[in-house]
């Protein structure tokens, strides 16, 4: 049992448990707050996978910005007032079944595939490699994404603006 494996299982547990809270909690605020440990779990997974830069970005963006954004919107819409209302719709049971089956199928499919390990290793300093890549082969993607960011920024503001 290497430390890696223990870490993996611990992080997986965190991720999955908080994920369950996110999807199943009748209290929407609890769901939103449980997103944070979920994202932090994912961050740990990234570190295990030698994606340090990605882990940092994950914390910043996901656990930081998006979770806060979600909490904002929850509070702006109904906040604590709708906490007693039913949160599950009428396809609850079937949804469980479908999700479980889907998971089963995916896991079965994955387990029956022989995943080959490629040779080689990741570069030691991944942030640098990522940066080089963005300004090199993946420049188009980089620029495109920035435009998408701009557009969504403008769009979100316009949509959410109060009507005068």
């Amino acid at each position: 049992m290497t430390g890696e494996v223990i870490a993996f299982y611990a992080l997986a547990a965190v991720l999955l448990l908080s994920g369950v809270v996110v999807v199943a909690s009748p209290n929407i605020v609890h769901s939103a707050v449980a997103l944070i440990p979920a994202f932090l779990g994912v961050t740990g997974i990234y570190i295990l996978l030698n994606a340090e830069f990605l882990a940092g970005v994950q914390v910043l963006i996901y656990a930081g910005a998006i979770t806060v954004l979600i909490l904002f919107v929850i509070m702006l819409t109904e906040g604590g007032t709708g906490l007693r209302l039913r949160q599950r719709n009428e396809q609850g049971p079937i949804g469980v079944v479908v999700a479980v089956l889907m998971a089963a199928l995916l896991i079965t499919g994955v387990m029956h595939t022989a995943w080959s390990r490629a040779a080689g290793a990741l570069p030691a300093y991944t942030p640098g490699a990522i940066g080089q890549s963005f300004l090199g082969p993946n420049l188009l993607v980089f620029e495109g994404t920035s435009i998408v960011l701009l557009v969504s920024l403008v769009g979100a503001i316009i949509i959410a603006r109060k009507e005068e």
């Binding site: 396809q91 079937i94 479908v98 089956l101 889907m102 199928l105 499919g109």
Partner: protein, 625 residues
Amino acid sequence: MTQNVWLIPLMPLLAFVLIIWRGDRLPGRGAFVSIAGIVLAGLGGLQLLGEVGMGARADLTYRWVTLGNHPLTVGFVVDPLSAVMAAMVGVVASLITIYSVGYMHGDPRFSRFFAYLSLFQFSMLFLVLADNFLFIYAGWELVGLCSYLLIGFWFERPSAARAALKAFITTRVGDFSMMIGILILFLHTHTLNFTEVFKGIEAGQIGGPLLTAAAILVFGGAVGKSAQVPLHVWLPDAMEGPTPVSALIHAATMVAAGVYLVARTFPLFILSPAHNALWVVAWIGGITALFAATMGVVEDDIKRVLAYSTVSQLGYMMMGLGVLGYSAGMFHLITHAFFKALLFLGAGSVIHAVATNNMKEMGGLAKAMPVTFWTFLVATLALTGIPPFSGFFSKDAILLAAYTQNKALWLIGTIGAFVTALYMGRLMWYTFAGSYRGAAATAGGHDAPGGTAHGGGHPHESPRVMTVPLVILAVCSIFLGLAEHPFGRFVRFPGVEEPASNTGLLLFSVLVAAAGWLAAGAIYRWRIVPSTALRRWFGPLYTLLVRKYFVDDFYGWVFLRAGWAVIWLAGAFDRYVVDGLVNAVGWLAGRFGWFLRSLQTGREENYLLLIFLGVVVIVLVRLVR
């Protein structure tokens, strides 16, 4: 004429086409064209008879179609049998057509009547000249059609319309049986030509019980067309038609077609084992002869008495053929055609004068209508078998043949002769003797809704166009009897011999007929035993006779009600099963559509669920396979 025998039916056919096409604009409103057609055909028939008498024979065949390796030929036959029939039909039909000019005077559908008459004449001549089952069946159906059209000529009368339908449907039963018989014969001999079929039977292609069955089935057609028991019910009702129609179709010609058919297909009956088919013919004929005669005694309608008489006499003809009296049966057919036509035309003359069919309202017409009376008397004497009139010779030839073959049939025939004289005597006494019992002048008669009768009050003789044919027919009824032996030599079936003459039998028959006349006089004229007393003493018998032995009621119950049940069943099947299936499909489509529509909820979560459910299902199915 022998080689061009097809000209004979062609004349009336052309007349029919012309009258249908131009109708009222023809000279005489179609009557002259019709008369011309049939007179030419009649002359042709007489010439044919002369030629055949000189020995001419012919069988004109044309190849029609080839089935496999069996060619089907159709055509016309010229032999003594067809020649006498053609001549008789031509002469009698000519006289009746001339008579109709006077009788149907003033009828709004005058030209159509003559068109139908011409069509019938064509059909009948076609039938008697046919040399194969196909032509004879075609002619058979056509005469049936014309009978329907002419019985229901005054179709505004519901009774006439019903009678026409009854005639057609009843004869249809017979026609169906005949068709089955023809098909059985065709299946085994692969030909429809008479001579070929008979050769095939002799060669053994069909034999034993199957031949008897086929013969009886073909006889079934004759039973229908000649109104034998049990298909006799249509003929009395057929009297709804105009009297010339009754004379032509239901006395002289069409009903004789059944007898002609048996004569033409005689080998079928002779060759059936133990003459079984022949005995069937004889017994049905004999039973019909007596059965119908008894019903004629209680009828008050003059035409109906004559109708029952016709049924009875046809029974005699069948019986004659059945007891191997081939020439006797055919001879009786010829003589009967003349005197029965005369009787009907005479009755028509009477009806024309007194505007009613009911004999109880007539009387004393002998003085008022002398020509009608004397010719009617001649015909009645012929019918009842009083010498030296023609009926005596022909009827006694039949009784002689019956005596030599089967005494029981002879007895039935003789009793029938007594009853025949009884009802004809009754008819004569009621209609012509005594004093006139009719009402004062009434317009519109029982017989002619067009108002062509003159009404009661003072009956008078009919116009010459009606009486001259009566006289001609009377002359024939008197003198045709002399032709018995020449006829016997002329129209005969090889192998069938005439029985030796029996004077004692002849004398006995005459006595029986005279007894019948005297009995009629005793009951109806001199009132020694009044008919009312007889009616009281023989109450149940009287009811049986008046209700026609309940045959019509029986048919109504069994066949008509069964028919209605089948109709209802078919209707219900169509409504509930067939329509039900179609409606069910539509309803199903609707329900399915509603179900599919409810899938479109407009809600994203439902769609997403279905997508993932679909993915899961597809993968699972793929895994399972």
